[in-house]
């Protein structure tokens, strides 16, 4: 699975991307975030406040219960501030 991080999520994790194998039993975006948060202090800090996070699966906005597969591109980022 391709993971992408943007803005302060990227900064707190200290990576703009990482490629990981999706563990068995992790089937939704929400479960993915729970698992990612255990990977480092940076991940935990970046992913602590779910209200401040937005997720895209394969470049489309997703919900915490959106299914994720190992061949997906999942991006995690703060609420957008363009325009």
């Amino acid at each position: 699975m391709q993971l992408l991080y943007f803005a302060w999520v990227r900064e707190r994790i200290g990576l703009d991307a990482e490629t990981l194998a999706l563990p068995e039993g992790v089937a939704t975006a929400g479960a993915l975030l729970d698992w990612l948060a255990t990977r480092s202090e940076g991940h935990a800090a970046a992913l602590a406040d779910r209200n401040q996070l937005r997720i895209a699966v394969d470049q489309q906005f997703a919900m915490m219960d959106t299914p994720v597969r190992d061949d997906a591109e999942v991006a995690i980022f703060p609420p957008v501030t363009g325009g």
């Binding site: 992408l4 895209a56 703060p78 957008v80 325009g83």
Partner: protein, 143 residues
Amino acid sequence: MLTTRVQPGPFDLGAEVAVLTAGRSDIGAVVSFTGLVRDVALTLEHYPAMTERQLAAIAADAAARWELLGATVIHRFGSLAPADPIVLVATAARHRGAAFAAAEFLMDWLKTRAPFWKREAGGGWVEAKATDDAAAARWVIPS
């Protein structure tokens, strides 16, 4: 004609509107919105693959809601100084009502659905505004 572009450099409002209206005489109304950097320099980060998809989807959504004869959406990224233009939306229609509504819709949608993040020079990440969410909520079609 729907045109969407993401680019680091500036855009030319007059030239973009000229392209939008070129060679046709059925357009009665063109509305443009230009967003500019206010007061403090910014860096705009974005998610390129998703940005392109979202801009195209946003423009198609506007064209499905109003009888547009054309629309252009250009969003910049990278380092921008105060007074620099950030974003251009232009809409063309027979009558002004559709052109105005579609331009407002596109801006509200961009503010809440296009994956850009602003960071202020010497400061932190700009926080999303509740007023932008409220503005975008006007356009949600009840499911």
